[in-house]
Every structure is written in C-alpha cells, then in structure tokens.
C-alpha cells in the first residue's frame, strides 16, 4: 500500500509541474488523433522510446553519477531476444520480452559488479569497451544473423501476441503504456532508499561508505534498473521496426545518444530525461528531414546538434533542468 501511495505521490512537485503533468499526459493520449502525419507519429514514438532509455540511464548515470556509456548492449539484448525467439521458436512477444529483460539484468550484474570498482572516466570507458565487444561478437556470429541482422517474420493478420499491427496507433499506445509505467516507476524510485543511497555516494563515495552504504551493491542495483529500461525499449524497437542489426541497435552512437539525452535534459532530475528526449528527438528528425535531403548540406544537422551539446556542457552542466532551476531561484 505504501508503495502504491508513493508511486502516485506528486505532492512535492511545484505548482507549475502540477499543471504540466496532467496536460502532458493528456497531450500524449490524444496526440494520435490530432494528426494524420505518420512522420509526426513516428517522431512521437521515438520521443517516448528515447525518454524510456534516458529515464533508465538516469538511475545509474543521473542519480548515481556513474557515467555508463554502454547502454546499447542492453537495447541489443532486449531486441535480439524478442527477434530470435520469434524466428526460432515462434514465441510470442509477451514471453520473450520478460526473458530478454532477465538476460539483460543478468548480464548487467555480471559486468557491473567487477566494473563498479572503477570510478569516473575509467568506468565510462570500460562500459564502452564491453559494449563494443558484444557488438563485434553479434556482427560476426552466424547464429544471430551476423551483420545482415534479423528480419522478424510477418504474421498474416495483426496480432496482439506478437505485437504486429498495421496501424501506427497501436504501437503508439503500447509504447505509451510502457512510458507511463516507466514514468510512475521513476516517480517511486526517486523517493526510494536506493535513490538516497545513490545520492549520497554521488556526493562523496568515501563518506557514503563510512556511513554504511554498500556502494558496490547500490550501484549494481541501479545499473540493473538501467538495463531493464534499455531492454524493454529494445524489445519494442524489434517489433516496431521488424528488422534489427548490430549497427542500428548495438552501436556506440546509440549508447552515447542515450546518455546525452539525459545529460542534456538534466542528469539526476526527474524531468531531465523527458526534456532531453523532447528536444533531441524532434531536432534530430526534423533537422534530418529538412537538411538531410539536401546533398550539399550533408552533416549540417549533426553539427547544429553537436554545437548545442557543447554550449550546454560549457554554460550549464546541469542541463536544461539547471536553467529551469536558475529561473526558479531568481523569482
């Protein structure tokens, strides 16, 4: 009971946040009915997907201050489990998705525990290394389709068991449900004991240790949460695109993008990942659609995007949420 109360408890939100929260969810709910553009819907689906990734990253990277840069490996584990189970044994999504999550958690424990002896840069680069090893293995492993990737089998009729639909709206609402669940979970998480332990070790690891926080175990648990969010998002990616390959979902660029989304919005803050995704995803898609079509301007969209990242890092390292906090202080 206590837990359920905590999940829906938004009492500590500021007045503006209390207004924005229902408006935001109402907007998400009615969005598919406001437009017929499937491009806009795809942008919104990607917005929610990257919010989920970034919310997950926020648990280890934001609350715990451990910059993990290998999240694409968990996205890959989630996506590959769903895809392979469907191709090999015709397993429904609802069975393979939880299995993928369990595998991702297991893998995160296996690599997380030795890695959490490392601090700062060492940890960040080590997570990249592990992720690249996994990508290289998948790129050259015949059983999982090597670099060619895997196409998911098409079903004859739209199918809830295998999450295959003809209309984008179904995918939209399915992802919305996951997004809402993740949102509420993070609302509970930020008030949990683990979140306070992470906050303590982020501020000063030695002090937290001396006060009896099991640092390695706290980090490992937070990392498992990160892996869960990534794997769930990855499983959605597989059924949404119907095609996966290691370049698309296990590459370093995706890992970086996940971390950037959260850091741009504001690492460690509740709204940060969502703000980050709300800016980066539409920016990326619309700039790409607008400038990417012009051959002469190849790469300009990413230059604008990279420039923004540098400005944010130099001017307000707490991200956009930091700007909000500053504005609030001034009042």
């Amino acid at each position: 009971m206590e837990v359920i109360k905590d999940i829906f408890d938004f009492k500590d939100f500021s007045r503006i946040e209390k207004v924005i929260l229902p408006l935001f969810f109402i907007f998400l709910l009615i969005f598919p009915w406001t437009t017929r553009s499937s491009f806009a819907k795809a942008v919104m689906i990607n917005f929610m997907l990257y919010s989920i990734f970034a919310m997950g990253w926020n648990s280890i990277g934001g609350h715990g201050g451990q910059v993990a840069l290998g999240n694409a490996q968990y996205v890959g584990i989630g996506a590959y489990t769903v895809a392979l189970f469907m191709v090999w044994w015709n397993m429904p999504y609802w069975f393979s998705m939880p299995v993928g999550v369990i595998i991702a958690i297991g893998w995160s424990l296996m690599i997380g525990y030795p890695l959490f002896r490392l601090r700062g840069h060492y940890f960040a680069i080590a997570t990249i290394a592990v992720s690249l090893v996994l990508q290289d293995i998948f790129l050259n492993w015949e059983l999982v389709g090597e670099a060619r990737g895997i196409c998911l089998p098409f079903k004859e009729t739209p199918n809830f068991l295998y999450m295959e639909f003809t209309s984008e709206n179904y995918y939209y609402y399915f992802l919305f449900a996951i997004f809402a669940a993740g949102f509420l979970y993070m609302n509970w998480f930020r008030k949990s004991k683990l979140a306070y332990q992470l906050k303590a070790l982020k501020a000063n690891e030695d002090a937290a240790d001396s006060l009896g926080v099991d640092i390695r175990w706290a980090k490992t648990k937070a990392y498992a949460i990160t892996a869960t969010f990534a794997a769930v998002g990855g499983s959605f990616y597989a059924v949404y695109h119907m095609y996966i390959d290691p370049y698309a979902i296990m590459c370093l660029d995706l890992s970086i993008l996940i971390a950037l989304t959260a850091m741009l919005g504001g690492a460690g803050s509740f709204w940060g990942p969502i703000i980050g995704a709300a800016i980066l995803v539409p920016l990326d898609r619309y700039l790409g659609a607008w400038l990417g079509g012009i051959r002469v301007l190849l790469g300009v969209d990413f230059m604008i995007y990279a420039f923004m990242i540098m400005v944010i890092a130099a001017v307000e390292p707490r991200g956009i949420w930091g700007l909000v906090l500053r504005a609030r202080k001034r009042r």
Binding site: R117, L132, D136
Partner: protein
C-alpha cells in the same frame, strides 16, 4: 609457420609504434588535467585530412606534410582548449564527457560536410607501394618507415617533456596543479599546451597513417577506442605505459588477426582492456 610468425611480429611491432604515438596525445592530456578527450580520434582524422589534402593540392611528398599536420593538430588542440575545454572545467565530470563528445560529433560531421563521405587514399609518394624482402619476411616500406618515424616522434615528445623546462613545468602541473601555480607556473597555459601537444602528436600520427591507410570522416571512432585501450592498459597519464601498451596492442591485433580471426581482433583488444581495468584500474604504469 616460422615465416608467418616473424611476419606478424614485424608488422605487429610497426603497427604498435603507430598506436603508441596515437595514444601519446591522449595520455598527455589526461595526465596534465585529468580529462578524457573523446574527440581524440577526430583529431587524428583531421590530421589525416590535413596531410591528404596538402599532398594532393600542393602535390607534395606525403612525408613532407608532417609539419603541416602537426601545426594543424596543434592549432586544433589549442583552439579546443581555449574555446571549449576551459569552460568545461568548472562543471562536474559529466559536463566534461558531454563537452568532448559534442566536440567529437562536431568535428566528425564538419569533416563529412567539407570532405564528403568517400574514402580517400594517397597513391603517390616515395614510400607508397614499395616493399622489400628481409630474408623471407616482406617489409612494406611505408609501414617500416612510419613505424620508425612514430618511434622518433614519440622519443622527441618524451625528451621535450622530461628534459626541457617547459616540459618539466607540464609534468609539475600534472602532479599537482595547485602547487605548480604557487611555484609560478602558468597552469592555464600548461593546460592549453597539453592540448596543443596532444593535438600535434596525434596530427603527426594521422599524417603518417595516411601513407598506408584510407581516410574518411568516421575513421576516428576506431582509433579513439584503440587509443583508450592503449592508454588504459599502460596507465592513464603514463608516457612509458602508452609506449609499451601500444606495442602490445599492435602485436595482439596482428597475431590474433592473422591466426585466429580478423573480424574479432578488435573485440579481443577491448576484452583485454576490460580485464586489465577490472583487475588493475591504474593500468601497468599508472599513478593517478
């Protein structure tokens, strides 16, 4: 079999010398100011393009483009420091990562915008395409001299840091920046110099690589990761460590690539890196 082994040994050592030179810049920057430069691979890419275009446009001998690439790398390093990195230092580590990532993406797509996505290789040059036999072992001239030049470049920088006054000031800053500033060392300039020096060494490495490697805008990632692995293996901030680790990684790359699987050779290097940092986070010669 004996021939294959000695062939792999020779190419491994030669490639390793290049890896050492690439990693040198990264380890200098890290040693002096405790920042990991994620744009390091992009610095290399820009050094490669600088060498490529000056060789093509001015129809220069590729080896003579070394000073140009070094100057471009130096300027790039200094500019990065004063325009960006200096402002990142106030923030937490996360801001530094974010900032150098931004720089990495920016340089990569700037190169894509200016130079286009195509692979470029040099076809003319005194070293290009020439080989000779040393007993049964085939020696590619470009790789051989580039290995030697990498070694020379490495030794030059090592000498600069260990024996000149500026180098000693740099070393002092890396050991304790605050104490160094009390001794009258301008640490701000030392930081800038570290970035300039880092950029120059990796620019030279890029110009050398252009003699036998193709260049394209996204090449930086692979070499950046290899440089990270090299630096971590040798110990962050350690120059001797970077040298030895570069050789080790060059040997692993060629031996594994030749005798086991050429697709998985980089995976093995990353895995080795993972094992080393998990067992001994400070690397072989690290002191930070």
């Amino acid at each position: 079999m004996g021939v294959l082994v000695s062939q792999a040994l020779v190419s491994g050592i030669l490639m390793g010398l290049v890896f050492s030179l690439i990693a040198l810049g990264l380890t200098i920057i890290f040693g002096v100011m405790n920042i990991v430069n994620f744009a390091h691979g992009e610095f290399l890419m820009i050094g490669m393009y600088a060498a490529y275009w000056s060789a093509v446009i001015l129809s220069m001998e590729p080896l003579l483009t070394l000073p140009i690439a070094a100057a471009v790398g130096f300027a790039l390093g200094i500019a990065s420091y004063y325009l960006l990195v200096r402002h990142l230092l106030r923030g937490p580590m996360i801001a530094q990562l974010l900032g150098t990532f931004g720089l990495m993406l920016f340089l990569r797509y700037l190169a894509l915008f200016i130079f286009g996505p195509n692979f470029k290789t040099l076809s003319k040059g005194i070293l290009i395409g020439k080989t000779s036999m040393m007993g049964p072992v085939v020696i590619d001239w470009s790789k051989f001299f580039i290995g030697l030049l990498s070694l020379a470049g490495f030794l030059l920088v090592y000498w600069l840091i260990s024996y000149t006054k500026t180098g000693k000031a740099l070393l002092a800053t890396s050991i304790d920046a605050e104490a160094a500033s009390y001794m009258g060392i301008k640490t701000e300039w030392m930081n800038g110099l570290a970035w300039g020096l880092g950029g120059a060494t990796v620019g030279i490495a890029g110009a050398l690589l252009t003699n036998f490697y193709y260049v394209y805008p996204t090449i930086g990632m692979l070499f950046c990761m290899l440089a990270f692995a090299t630096v971590a293996l040798g110990g962050f901030g350690s120059i001797k460590g970077a040298f030895l680790a570069g050789l080790i990684i060059g040997l692993i790359e060629t031996f594994f690539g030749q005798f086991v699987s050429s697709e998985l050779k980089f995976a093995v290097i990353y895995a080795l890196y993972f094992i080393v940092v998990a067992l001994r986070p400070e690397g072989m010669f690290g002191w930070k």
